[in-house]
């Protein structure tokens, strides 16, 4: 630790302490909600109203503004959980455990939304609700990984042991993430290839792309909002015998 400057170490310990994190969450939340509403409002208006109709898929393609950002979030949140798992295992940081477990229900929700909206898009376009292709199957496995993290944490009584167990599961499961990402290239199947994240120009019209990026950014803010809400409950549960929580309960009552 001696190679890290003292102010950084102090900052790290202060931010990482549960009461500090709790009050920081309270300060951040109104801003996050405000920015989310602006971004989602603009994204939905652009996506559902302003963006032109697709010449091949008609208006069914508008599901993209939920489907693709939700799918991106399902991967993004899992990577965050794996990073938090690593931090928790290496430095035994309490807040990393809290962020990891608080992210799981939101990640599971985005994975569920990606699968369901994909199904609702697949039916009119592919003629089927579901195929066992590589992209869909690996995304379904991701949903099971999230549910596995949630139920493993719930099944172990001692929360310190539970945190270590889910940290390891989150790290092991991260191998699925590149598989999901490259699945459309490795196995040529029904699911279309990437249209945005390509090395050359994205093959999507700019009026369609802007709302998509707005929604993707809005979902990042949504994740922060929902995760902090869950994290606040988790912190209160874990710290309920601490003096600061008792004081908080007194002022609220």
């Amino acid at each position: 630790m001696s190679i890290i400057p003292a102010p950084i170490v102090r900052f790290y310990h202060r931010t990482a302490s549960p009461p500090h994190f709790y009050s920081l969450a309270n300060k951040l939340l109104p801003w996050l909600v405000g920015i989310f509403i602006l971004l989602a409002g603009a994204g939905l208006y652009g996506g559902l109203y302003l963006a032109p109709t697709d010449y091949q898929q008609g208006d069914s393609y508008r599901i993209i503004y939920i489907h693709v950002p939700a799918a991106w979030m399902s991967l993004f949140i899992y990577v965050i959980m794996a990073v938090m798992g690593a931090i928790s295992l290496i430095w035994r940081m309490k807040i990393a455990d809290v962020v990891l477990i608080s992210s799981a229900p939101i990640g599971a929700s985005f994975t569920f939304i990606a699968l369901v909206t994909g199904s609702l898009w697949g039916k009119p376009m592919w003629g089927t609700w579901w195929v066992w292709d590589a992209r869909l199957t690996s995304e379904l496995i991701l949903l099971f990984l999230y549910l596995g993290v949630i139920s493993l944490y719930g099944a172990i009584e001692d929360k310190r042991t539970a945190s270590r167990a889910v940290a390891i599961l989150a790290l092991v499961g991260v191998v699925n993430i590149p598989i999901i990402h490259y699945s459309v290239q490795w196995w040529n199947t029904l699911h279309q290839g990437p249209t945005v994240a390509k090395m050359d120009k994205p093959s999507i019209h700019i009026d369609m792309l802007i709302p998509l990026l707005l929604m993707a950014t809005a979902f990042k803010f949504y994740y922060a909002i929902a995760m902090l809400q869950v994290a606040k409950v988790e912190i209160l549960k874990r710290e309920q015998n601490m003096q600061w929580v008792k004081k908080l309960v007194e002022t609220k009552a």
Binding site: L48, Y49, T53, G58, D59, S60, R62, I63, I66, H67, A70, P105, I106, S109, F112, I113, V116, T117, L120, W121, K123, P124, Y222, I225, A226, Q229, V230, K232, V233, L236, K237, Q240, V245, K246, V249, E250, K252, A253
Partner: protein, 54 residues
């Protein structure tokens, strides 16, 4: 898009588009509302516990 009815019809794909948006909305709302209710409940329980201990 001229009328509101046309907007809702989504070129014949209204059912698929609005079901997708509806399900997403419900799931995302639940993720924020449930922890809010849980926190209220927990704070109530903790307040009761503290009263008894006094």
């Amino acid at each position: 898009m001229n009328s509101f009815a046309e907007f809702l019809a989504m070129g014949g794909y209204g059912f698929y588009v609005w079901t997708a948006y509806g399900i997403a909305l419900v799931v995302l709302l639940l993720n924020v509302v449930l922890p809010l209710l849980q926190r209220k409940q927990l704070l109530r329980e903790l307040a009761l516990k503290q009263k008894r201990e006094k």
